[in-house]
């Protein structure tokens, strides 16, 4: 290692130290506490980590059909919302990047849902989608359609929750992707234009490759947030009807504060963390290998 490299390294450490320190103070203890708790017998009735039970809670988690079911519902939910939000969000971001008039107006509009609390989003969509008293079914009836049972049967409820989540969160994607687009260098486009490349060519040959780091990060972060989705399901369906929308974060919440079993909930949370971590690491590497 050269002297310059060593100084580079030191500078890097120095720059990241305050942030890492802050993170350690706030997050490290709870994370380790969770790991520790997952191997003991901490319940709300007997809140102590004295009894060490090893991996018993992990074994029980994998034997629980409901937990596995919640994991699979969550997988489909995450796939659906992340992909759909990405497609819609990217289209909107591209349009917003190109648009010449009304940019500020459009931008303000798309920020509105983001500033709404998930609880409120859930409650107002419950009202809009009320099968007999909601405005949506009323408008459909004017067109001789429906009535649609948005949340009352298992098949519809899943997609209704996905749709409401898209309504609420799609702008998250737009904000990040648009930032990526506006940070792109202009020169390559000018060069391509001179060579006579059209809009589509420019998109596939320039925009997509240049945007790759931002796209990867946007997808990853949205994925991690989507795994933690809980409020919308809590307000709209409580995991029902039947078990159609039982997302794993809500399941773990119930394990902890309804089932009173913090250790079991911690073990499930750690399993979830591992699954998401593996997925993230793999996605991260895969995307980087594409770049290389």
């Amino acid at each position: 290692m050269t002297a310059i490299e060593r100084r580079d390294q030191r500078f890097g450490l120095l720059m990241s130290a305050p942030g890492l320190l802050a993170l350690m103070l706030v997050v490290l203890f709870p994370v380790f506490f969770t790991l520790w708790t997952s191997t003991s017998d901490f319940t709300l009735l007997k809140p102590s980590n004295d009894a060490f039970v090893g991996l018993a809670h992990y074994a029980r988690a994998f034997q629980s059909n409901e937990f596995l079911h919640a994991l699979s519902v969550t997988l489909w939910f995450v796939l659906a919302v992340v992909l759909l939000e990405f497609l819609i969000g990217f289209a909107a971001a591209l349009a917003l990047d190109k648009v010449e008039h009304g940019k500020t107006f459009y931008y303000v509009v798309l920020l509105f849902p983001l500033l709404m609390n998930p609880v409120v989003v859930g409650l107002i969509w419950r009202m809009f989608l009320h099968p007999t008293l909601g405005i949506v079914n009323y408008l459909l009836s004017l067109a001789n359609l429906g009535p649609v049972d948005w949340l009352g049967n298992p098949a519809n409820a899943f997609w209704t929750v996905v749709l409401v989540d898209i309504w609420h969160q799609v702008s998250f994607m737009v904000v990040l992707l648009l930032a990526g687009l506006s940070a792109l260098p202009k020169e390559p486009y000018e060069a391509a234009r001179l060579e006579g490349a059209g809009t589509l060519r420019c998109f596939f040959w320039l925009t997509l490759p240049l945007m790759r780091p931002v796209i990867v990060v946007t997808l990853l972060i949205r994925l991690i947030f989507a795994v933690k989705t809980y409020d919308i399901v809590y307000i709209m369906t409580r995991g029902g009807p039947g078990q159609a929308t039982d997302l794993v974060s809500y399941f773990i919440y119930r394990q902890a504060f309804v089932g009173l079993d913090i250790s079991q909930a911690s073990a499930m949370a750690v399993i979830l963390l591992m699954a998401v971590l593996l997925l993230t690491a793999w996605l991260h590497r895969y995307m980087r290998s594409l770049a290389a």
Binding site: L44, L45, K46, P47, R126, H130, P131, T132, L133, P147, D149, W150, L151, G152, N153, P154, A157, Y234, T237, R238, G239, G240, P241, G242, Q243, A244, R254, F257, V258, G259, L260
Partner: protein, 423 residues
């Protein structure tokens, strides 16, 4: 810097006063909380104690309380406890017994309606709470339709009995069927249900269970008894009401969704918490002002209530008791009821002033006296969760009612064993 510190400490001193005590209470955002709020100036005048009510949403209350109760000293002097949590809170040792204080101040707990005192008052012979407000369920129905001669005739012709306030379960089911299928009112249903998991569906179905003569468990042995002919029939009744006779979507209705259907005049009946009864008469919420009444569910309603308690982690238990004593004194309890509070003391329902104001008080008293309690044990919330899940699966996902109830019985028994109730 010194000056600044001095100024701050003086500010704090004036803000809290050297001898002015403050107690903190975590409450739920309901009208009863507002009525308590209105009594606080009187309490402050009497005792000099300042009461701070912190209001959170019901669903989050438990989450907010638990860390407080687990720690040695919490922020709250007084708690309100839903009957759901009674088993858990007592098992965990989070509540202080009140018997000594009750004896010292000569408070007669017989003034409470017994079923409510059993639910959020005494546990295994020890008094941990004084009942605060009740939310027993009842059958709310349209009086104007029952009084309509056209419907009376048509109903009698088809079902061979008079159309009147139902006192038998089958009679009620016939009425539901009639108003959905035969009454000829467009878009109108005989019933609206609250099928949302877990507590709305579990609480509502409990009434069906009691109506069919079923019980949750054998009172002698705690052996679960849901997968019995009564229980299965109750679930079939419930499924029919949602699927055949109710509005679409009822399988996922919260009590708010369902209430609004009834309040918009689109259903004949709704089996719900009695505190919704006055809301029907509120023109800002309802299209059926003066047209809805409440009656006990034939076979017995489901009981529900909240109680006042002092947590073990209470910073000032004596001041806390002063407050509970005050707010539950018959005089203040009557004042709260007059504002619209849901009372728990028997005398209030016989009070002529209050009956003049709330004509349904006699029915309400009867309802409370005949209501049944939900199983209260350490894992009640978890049991509600399991029950809600299986009921919802039976109603929406085609699960066989018997199979669903057998699953509930099995998991119920497991929880009871873990709790030491079932051998």
């Amino acid at each position: 810097m010194k000056k600044f510190l001095l100024a701050t400490s003086m500010l704090i001193a004036t803000a809290f006063g050297a001898d002015a005590k403050t107690i903190n209470i975590l409450m739920e955002g309901v009208p009863d909380t507002r009525y308590v709020q209105e009594m606080l100036p009187e309490f402050k005048e009497k005792t000099g104690i300042d009461v701070q009510l912190e209001v959170v949403n019901y669903a989050e209350m438990h989450t907010k309380l638990v860390p407080q109760l687990v720690s040695p000293e919490g922020s709250y002097d007084v708690l309100i406890v839903d009957f759901y949590w009674v088993g858990e809170f007592i098992k965990a040792g989070w509540l202080q017994p009140l018997d000594e204080r009750i004896a010292a101040d000569g408070i007669d707990t017989n003034r409470y309606i017994p079923s409510i005192m059993n639910l959020t008052g005494k546990v295994d012979g020890v008094t941990y709470m004084l009942p605060f407000y009740n939310y027993a369920m009842g059958l709310t129905y349209r009086t104007d339709l029952l009084a309509d001669p056209k419907h009376q005739e048509a109903f009698k012709a088809k079902y061979g009995r008079d159309l009147k306030v139902p006192t038998e379960w089958q009679e009620y089911l016939d009425q539901v069927k009639y108003f959905t299928e035969d009454a000829g009112i467009e878009g109108f249903k005989g019933v609206v249900n609250q099928g949302l998991r877990p507590d709305p569906i579990a609480m509502e179905w409990s009434n069906y269970l009691f109506a069919r003569g079923g019980r949750y468990y054998d009172p002698e042995t705690w052996q679960p008894t849901l997968a019995t002919p009564e229980g299965i029939q109750a679930l079939v009744d419930y499924r029919d009401n949602i699927q055949k006779y109710g509005p679409i979507g009822a399988a996922n209705f919260s009590f708010d969704d369902a209430f609004n259907v009834a309040a918009q005049g689109k259903a004949y009946s709704y089996l719900t918490f009695n505190m919704f009864r006055p809301v029907y008469d509120d023109p800002a919420s309802s299209q059926v002002v003066g047209k809805m009444e409440i009656t006990p569910v034939p076979g017995g309603s489901l009981n529900g209530s909240w109680g006042w308690a002092i947590p073990t982690s209470s910073p000032d238990a004596d001041a806390a008791w002063e407050f509970i004593k005050f707010i539950e004194s018959p005089e203040i309890a009557k004042k709260r009821a007059a504002l619209g509070g849901a009372a728990t003391q028997a005398a209030i329902f016989d009070d002529p002033d209050l009956i003049a104001k709330y004509s349904y008080y006699p029915q309400l008293k009867q309802l409370l006296q005949t209501s049944h309690n939900f199983p209260v044990f350490t894992y009640t919330p978890q049991f509600v969760e399991v029950l809600g899940r299986e009921l919802s699966l039976a109603v929406t996902d085609g699960k066989d009612p018997k199979e669903a109830l057998e699953t509930v019985d099995r998991e119920f028994a497991e929880m009871l064993r873990k709790d030491g109730k079932l051998q």
